[in-house]
């Protein structure tokens, strides 16, 4: 348990104790001190606990375990461990190019001003599709993957800017940066999760720590 969640649990428990006292003895609200207690217990602490709860859930929803807790995502989780460097997500995960505990979120969030909010709204869309609608088979992104998400890390990196494949065509780099030449669909880095190939794949085993 992280420190933040410990604090949140403490706030919730303290709020419950204060509120329970008011529920048992509501007559104390007739006094000035009782009114202040009621204000703190019935408004300030619940709002605080609710706000902290939203933040905690938001942070938790960025974790790889959270994303893979839905069984429709199991194969996508497995694809992170394919022992083949041509699988883009697997390489990023296994070589520590993205934090392993936030692997899905790191690549699938929008690196824009409201990117966090947008990605969480898409998360709610996933829930709608899962419980009320019908998830597409195979699962597809709602919109084409934007190079901006790759460039958030790769832009300016020597391995990216000076790569022979990227500099062979003098226009290629600028087109990539303008999202006119898509990294993942123009035939260069097109092996992404490819869950259909998992049956034939071998898997990397993470060494025990």
């Amino acid at each position: 348990m992280t420190d933040n969640s410990t604090i949140l649990v403490a706030v919730i428990l303290f709020s419950i104790v204060l509120i329970a006292y008011l529920v048992i003895r509501p007559s104390i609200t007739a006094t000035r001190g009782g009114k202040m207690l009621a204000f703190v217990a019935l408004l300030v602490f619940p709002v605080l606990a609710g706000g902290m709860g939203v933040n905690q859930h938001m942070e938790h929803s960025k974790t790889t375990n959270f994303c893979l807790s839905c069984h429709v995502m199991e194969d996508y989780g497995k694809s992170l461990r394919v022992d083949d460097r041509s699988f883009v997500p697997a390489t990023h995960f296994q070589y520590g190019l993205v934090p392993r505990d936030k692997a899905c979120y790191t690549c699938h969030t929008d690196y824009t001003m409201y990117g966090d909010v947008n990605s969480k709204l898409r998360g709610l869309q996933h829930l709608y599709a899962y419980y009320i609608g019908k998830p597409s088979q195979p699962i597809k992104l709602y919109r084409p993957y934007n190079n901006r998400e790759c460039l958030h890390c790769h832009l300016g990196a020597r391995s990216f800017e000076e790569s022979e494949a990227h500099t062979k065509d003098p226009q290629a780099l600028s087109r990539m940066k303008l999202n006119q030449l898509n990294c993942s669909t123009s035939g260069c880095h097109n092996i992404i999760h490819n869950v259909g190939q998992l049956k034939e794949a071998t898997f990397w085993k993470e060494p025990a720590k």
Binding site: I16, L22, V23, T29, A41, H57
Partner: protein
């Protein structure tokens, strides 16, 4: 002993009970790692807490608390 509770006390009891229920939902969903937990937190816990706070605020402005008309 005759128990007597005013309208404001009943409302504070109701608000408190709703808030405790909402906070307990929040507590449970924090320990549960699944997208459904977020949904429960938002729709059930959030609704209980919002209604609880609403009932409390209503109790503050209820007619019973207004000073008597001159």
């Amino acid at each position: 002993m005759k128990s007597y509770s005013t309208k404001i006390e009943r409302r504070i009891r109701l608000a408190g009970s709703l808030l405790i229920a909402g906070l307990l939902v929040e507590l449970v969903t924090l320990r549960w790692s699944h997208p459904t937990a977020f949904l429960f937190f938002l729709l059930l816990g959030g609704a209980l807490m919002a209604v609880g706070i609403g009932v409390y605020l209503l109790s503050l402005i209820s007619s019973e608390n207004k000073p008597p008309a001159e």
